[in-house]
Structure formats: C-alpha cells, structure tokens
Subunit: 380 residues, 2 copies
C-alpha cells in the first residue's frame, strides 16, 4: 500500500470515522482505523461494533486531485495517534506507505512518522444488508427530528429499549418517539418510500443518533436509509454509517397522549423559557427540579419555585391566550427546559388535562412534534 | 437597605467578586456575597479567606445613573443563586430591598425573588494593611508576567511554598520566579516604586494569581500593589483584590541558571513548536513525555520520540543559527510546550550546557524572561 493524499481530505475523513472508535475497546484491532487504498479511492473504516462508519475518499474532487494511489493495499493504524498527528502535519500533502510487518511510514514535509500497524484481515468484515426496507429523507430534516427527540431517551441501562428512539413509518410518514417514562418527545416528517413500506418496531440507540447527527452536514443532502432485522444503514454522500438496532419491544405510548385539554395557553417561547429558567435556578437544588404553574385571572399565569434555605422565585407572565379551567400544576422544570430548547417557533402552546395528567408542549399550530411531561404530585 | 441598580453593572460586579467565593466552603457566611449600600455607592464582597475581592459600584458612571440608594444598609446573599439569577433577570434594572430577618426581595420586570439572607455583621472584616511596601505596575504587564510564569508552579501540596510565585523587587525591577523542581520560569519588568523599596521573600499562590489575571481588563490601567507581612492587595480601578501570602522560605534558584552555553540555536517559534507537538503526541503515552533532540550538521536539528507499541516520530528542523558543540539531549516535551506557548516572539533561542544540564528557552534577544527545563537521563 502506498498513496499520496491531500491533508485536509484525510483529516476530514479521519475526524468522521474516528467518531465510531471507542478509546476503551477491549478488542485491540478496533482501537485502529482501517485504510483500504485502491484505484477507485481510499476507504477509511472505524467501528466499536455498535456503530461502524466508513468514509470514501475519491481520487479527485472539484478542487482537483485528492489522492493518488501508487500501490493498492490495506492496513489498520492506531486511531487516536493517527487522527491527532495528521491534523498537525506540516505539509498540505501526506504520503502513506506500508512496509514490512504492517509498519506504515507517514511522510509530510520534514516530518517522518513510523506507525506500528495491524493486520487488516483481522478487522471485522462489514455485515451484509438485505436491501428490503429502504427509504430516503432530507438529511437536515433527519437531523432536526433527532434533535427534537433524542434528549428524552432514558439514560437508565436497566431498561435498554428506552435508551433508544422508536422509528415507525406508515403511509410515507416517519415518526420518532423517545421516552424515559417521565416525559416523551415525538416528531414526524414525510419521507420518500414505496407506498407499501411500513415499519413499526425499529429502535435506534439515542447515543448512535447523537453521533449520526454530528456528521450530517448542513448542505441539504439526502440521506438514504436501509433497515434490516438487526442493522440500520445511513448513506450520506461519501459516508456509510451502520448501527445495530436495539433488541426488545418498545412500549405502546399512544394511549398516554391526551387528545383534548381542559386548560390551554399560548405564550411567547422566549418569555416563558426565561421565566422557567429563573424558577429552575432555585428548583435545581433538589433532584426533582419542581416548579409550580398556576393560572391567574385575565390571561396571566404565575410560575414559582421555592426552597426553604434559599428563598422563592415568583414570575408573572402574560399569555397570548388562556382558555379553559383554572389550573394548579407542578412539574420538573429541567424536562420543561429540555423541550423548550428544541422549539424554534415564536410561540408555544401548552395543554393540560388536570393536575395529575400529562402536560403537552408544542410549537403553536404545529402538530408534527410534541413534548409530553408528566406532572409531579405535590402536597401543597 | 433598599436600592435600584442597573442590571449590567450588578451582573459585572457579581461575576468578579464571585471568583473569590468557594462553593465548597465550610463557613456558611462565606458561601454568600456581602452587599453594602451607602450614599457613596454599592460595595460587593466575596471571600474564601485566602482571597477576598471587593467591587465598588459608583452611583454614576459615564453612561449615567448606575445605582440609586433609597435606604443604606447591608446583607449577605447566597452567592451562586444570586449571581445566576441576576444574569437572567428580565429588566435592565433591578431593585433590592432587605426586609425582616435579612430576607431580601429582588424585583426586576415581572420577576420577584425572595432570598434568604444572612447577617452582614457575621461576615469577616477585611484585614487592615499597613501601607508600607507600595508600588504600581501597568496591569497588562502584570497579567503578562503572571502568564509567563504561573504554569511552572508546583501542583504538589507537599511543598506548599512551590505552589506560589516568588516576587522580588530591587532597583525598581519586579521579578517573578516559579518552579516545580523540574522546570523554572521567570519574568521581570520595571515598576513604579520608591528607589529604596526592596522585597525579597514574597510568595503569592499561583492559583490566586490565575484568578487575579482573569479580572484584569485589557484597557491598560495601572495596578496599585500593597504588600504587608501576611497579605498582598491589588488595586484595580473599582476592584480591591486581597490575597494571603504563602508562609515559608522560597529556595534559592539563582545558582541553577547557567550563564554560558556549550550549544545554542535560534529557530522559528512556530516551526519548532509544531515539531515538538508532533513528537509530543507519541511521548504523551508515557508520563515522562520524553522527546529527544540532537544536533545534525549544517544548521539542522532532529527531534524525535518513540514508543514501541505505537511507532516513532522523526522531525528535521532547519535552525536560523546553530553554534557550539554537538548535542544529544532528552526532555519532557510537555514542559517545553508549556514554555513555548507563552512565547510570542517570532524566534526562540535555546541554550544547552550538556546533556545533564538545564535547558534555557527564551524569546530571541530577550533577557527579561527565561524558561529552564531540566533534561532527562535516558539510557540511549
């Protein structure tokens, strides 16, 4: 194996595949990044067995030559050191040459680096995927759906299925659902899929979706998605991102979402968020982050929190519209802030069906996304 | 106590005095910030007993009214919550009013916050300082001297005196020295002082100087300095910064600095730093961070590091000038990078007096600062 490559291209590709490499792996070969150089380009692969990322570097791009391969071949190089040193190389081009016993020589300007490599044949092969369930979605829309939901997954490993986001697809609409039993977030969007494609139990780890989100560029490309029984593959231009699907049955959450409200208001997202944030500052001293909300007369609400050692925060807020029964409710302000943070619209709409029933938070007039927060039972 | 104050002024002052407040104090009153409101302005005080910061907010500044005091008085408010909530208050002005039992009401826009306050009479009084040893220095120059030296203090609490920076003053020149026994950094500058003022054993904690550095603005003001037996006071416009002086005798370091070199070279700071950084990436896998430097013929040097499991980095560097005996030396590359990071000049000058003698690193042609690194004994 011998090739010359533009440093920026190698650096960018390494940053991406390195996201799949675990620094604490117990499988030595997976602490490396696999390099395959051939006439059609260079392929880099990183994996931690849960996630595998493959990056294809073409011989040329619109700026000219990217890589020229003198001798095809493969090697596995220690990931962390390789990634860090490439970023700091002195010249704009880098030459890699595999020598005896997988040793690889890296040359750039006046730097010469010999790396102890590993046998590429020992690197796990990529799983074969039957291309049965295939659809595609605007990648930025996918990124947005991840942002809208992923924060609500459970971090409790005792219920592994809830650490993932449930994907369902029906009539060309993809829906994400995430819940940790205390709150639930969902988002949906249209995808390009054959009319008869239906998916109802596909759960992808929240951590994986977070990593995927990081490598989705902001240029409006389309993401191709292939789902098999145990794996899901995301195709993004030069990147293939494989992830395992979580085992287990996701609970049915459809029944906990109220369809009508007894009390409902619309408020400015910024003003409501600021008021909750100030109340949160006191509430965060206790794990439950309890904040109280009561409706007052004439379109006003009051948000408050108190802590005997510190004091009390009281916020009055003028809503844009307040309808229905009088209400007194308590909830975890951290959950409310998490939901508010991903709402970009000017106004929010919050619905209640009683002090012990779920609170529903949405962007005003928007039904493609929803955040549900269970209230707290409090004595006063 | 009752006053109205501009939010930005209160926020800025709180951020500054909060740097002196320890969140893990065992003295409850010190987890608070003391507020004294009087006709001449508002004074905020934060302290962890080692450091005390006092901020004076005048009734007016060049933009107009800052604070107007309706009733003078004092109170101590819980620091962390107070600082966080003021930053998030909705209006540009804030009203503070102390009520019964030190409870304090904060009003801003539609927010109302009641804080449990503490008795200001229980707050420790500021020590009286005999103004004997007094001098002044451009505050930015002071900040630069701190940056040049403070990274070299010891983090080992078993030799507390070495966790500080030694200040000496003679003939109107102030000198800082910091060492952790493996390396030493020093910097000096002219100060305004009476001709006969001499200081020879004044050691200020590195941590304290780091905090002081953070509150020095970039506007070229003068810092007044008052040193007593046990305390040092920095006066910066509206801020008084008090710190305890470390007890103990600082070791005499004058003899370990070589006056002549057997080998010396001048190199581009950027190129030399980059080469050391690449070698560091391999060396950091072991605690000693060992990198080797050898002189080659015709003005060249070679920098290298190796690790049997990973590989070897070899860097060739063209110096601007290389004089003296052939040299082979090994050193801790982390120490070298720490020193290089605070050198802003285009070229560096490095002097050696043998493979077991201290290495001296300076900006080229600059003798007001110096970094010394002890070499490593290595077998090959």
């Amino acid at each position: 194996m011998k090739f010359t490559i533009r440093k920026d291209a190698l650096d960018g590709a390494l940053q991406t595949v390195f996201k799949a490499v675990s620094t604490r792996t117990t499988i030595p070969i997976l602490s490396g990044i696999k390099i395959d150089a051939g006439a059609s380009g260079i392929v880099l692969t990183g994996s931690d067995t849960d996630i595998t990322i493959q990056y294809f570097i073409p011989p040329e791009d619109k700026e000219g030559t990217v890589a020229s391969v003198d001798a095809p071949g493969s090697v596995v190089l220690p990931a962390k050191f390789f990634v860090d040193v490439v970023r700091k190389l002195p010249s704009d081009t880098v030459e890699l040459e595999r020598e005896g016993n997988f040793q690889t020589r890296i040359r750039s300007g006046s730097s010469e680096i010999m790396l102890v490599g590993l046998d590429p044949d020992e690197y796990p092969a990529l799983p074969a995927l039957e291309e049965e369930r295939v659809f595609s979605i605007n990648a930025l829309l996918l990124k947005s759906m991840i942002r809208q939901t992923v924060f609500a997954v459970s971090t409790n490993e005792s219920t592994p299925i809830l650490t993932g986001v449930l994907w369902t697809l029906k009539n060309g609409r993809l829906k994400f659902t995430a819940t940790d039993r205390h709150r639930l977030s969902s988002a949906e969007a249209a995808v390009e899929a054959s009319a008869d494609l239906s998916i109802d139990q596909l759960v992808v780890s929240g951590k994986t979706l977070g990593e995927l989100s990081k490598i989705i560029p902001d240029d409006g490309m389309t993401a191709g998605i292939v789902a098999s029984e145990s794996l899901i593959l995301f195709k993004l231009d030069n990147v293939l991102f494989y992830s395992r699907i979580l085992d287990g049955t996701y609970p049915d959450t459809s029944k906990i979402i109220p369809q009508t409200y007894k009390t409902e208001f619309v408020a400015g997202t910024r003003e409501f968020t600021d008021a909750i944030e100030r109340a949160y500052l006191l509430s965060r001293e206790e794990k439950t982050n309890i904040v109280r909300l009561v409706t007052l007369g004439s379109n006003q609400i009051e948000i408050s929190s108190s802590l005997s050692e510190l004091g009390k925060v009281t916020e009055r807020l003028e809503t844009k519209r307040l309808e229905g029964e009088e209400l007194k409710i308590a909830f975890n302000s951290r959950y409310m802030l998490d939901a508010l943070k991903v709402i970009d619209s000017e106004n929010i709409q919050i619905g209640f069906t009683g002090m012990m029933s779920p609170i529903i938070v949405r962007p005003e007039g928007e039904d493609r996304m929803l955040h549900l927060i269970l209230p707290y039972r409090t004595s006063n």
